[in-house]
Subunit: 237 residues, 2 copies
DNA sequence: CTGTACCGGAGGTTGTTCCTCCGGTTCGTC
DNA sequence: GACGAACCGGAGGAACAACCTCCGGTACAG
């Protein structure tokens, strides 16, 4: 879509190039420092607490006052959007790389693993990818990933690696489901999504495999499961 | 929902027996009628909009004033809890029945299908089962279902029907994931959870199957997927 | 017909989120 | 080293939402 003019190569993070309407004078030293602090803080806070975090939260976490935060960013959405864009670009790039893999299933699995690893560590990102926060940004993701994914699945099927009943949106739905797992066990077992990815892949592939993954990431115990589900309480929304 | 008569012979629905501290006189005719209206309305509203519905909403949906609602029920939680309890009792009963099935896998699958069918139609219930609303009630569910599920999975493994790496909490996690799907496609394809249940079963069973289910419930088209994800926006929390 | 139980919904209370405002501080320049 | 512009901080107000109460008016039971 319209590449946001908000940012340059090293987007938001680096320099005073992102006031759009004005060739601004260089930020004063303290202002520049605080801007960086805010961006770093935002990254952490959004990753940890998700999009419902407040600009107030971000400011406080950066050790700054609220006013300072609002002077630098009109609102949290502007900030969040720019931050997410960077991360999503990385995921899309990973998919493009996967699309070039001569072994389509290996490419697909590799992509899923890297994309999920990023999402497992970032609750804000999960919310964007699951459509729970910014619809426009999610659309953009689908625009860029849809065709590549379709091609990859098609080729994996042609190669006899993936069952013929499977469709491209099954992959999207799988990612969404795995994000739910990642949300639930973010604290207890941050890599448990790998187990359920393995099971699901088992379900859509022609050959059974992944016994080793399932051994490496065993199921939650009954007690762990209960604790995790209870903690999930307010986790979304 | 179903058009069943509101006056079921079940707990909360029937009569003035649930004012605890007082052997109350029978409700006046209009009061009794309104009480039933409120209960029916609550069932619909919670199922459709989930637990974040307000007693105000329920009253309005019943065509009554807010005051009337608050006179009958101290708050929405009291009402919700009683309502959910009935539904959950049904699910637990289904599990107990499944536990008695001589074919453990058939029992397990039958239970999952019936439990998911109920949850797919009731967003409020999904929230309770996923721990997003009432922790105590969820605990109760786990207490009653945990042992039966464990036994069922164990027997299915002993019979060589389910892979040995699988644990009982995998079933719980699977249900949770399927609830996410049900949430997303509640409007677009209310039975699509069956497809993903089939895929997961494929992933945890020793034998591949379910080709027919996957054909009967095909994947969303790209366009459907996008629409559903976009609509999911505020669906949770 | 009369008194009591019940109805309705305006509006108060509390809690949350977002943002603004301005006295005081720091920076960079002369 | 001193002055003005740019910046900081956080109290607090505006906007919103959820929840519940109150009381004038209405419908039922005897």
């Amino acid at each position: 879509m319209t590449t946001t003019s908000v940012t340059s190569p090293a987007p938001i993070a680096s320099d005073p190039g992102n006031v759009p309407a004005e060739a601004s004078r260089p930020l004063r030293k303290d202002a520049a420092r605080n801007r960086e602090l805010l961006i770093a803080s935002a990254r952490e806070v959004f990753a940890q607490r998700g999009m419902e975090a407040t600009l107030d939260d971000i400011a406080r976490h950066a050790g700054l006052g609220v006013g300072t935060a609002y002077r630098h960013f009109a609102n949290k959405h502007e900030l969040a959007r720019a931050l997410m864009e960077q991360t999503i670009d990385g995921i899309v790039a990973a998919l493009d790389a996967a699309g070039a893999n001569p072994d389509p299933l290996a490419g697909l699995i590799g992509f899923l693993e890297s994309a999920m690893a990023v999402q497992a560590a970032d609750r804000g990102l999960r919310q964007v990818m699951m459509g729970m926060h910014d619809a426009a940004q999610m659309e953009q993701v689908h625009d860029r990933m849809g065709p590549v994914l379709e091609d990859l699945v098609g080729r994996a099927q042609a190669a006899g690696q993936v069952r013929l009943e499977v469709g491209p949106t099954d992959i999207g739905m799988m990612v969404t489901m795995l994000c739910t797992v990642a949300d639930i066990v973010a604290d207890a077992a941050p890599e448990l999504w790998r187990r359920y990815l393995a099971i699901y892949l088992n379900g859509i592939c022609t050959q059974t495999c992944s016994t080793d993954v399932m051994a490496a990431f065993p199921p939650l115990s009954e007690a762990q499961f209960r604790t995790a589900m209870a903690a999930y309480k307010g986790s979304l929304g």
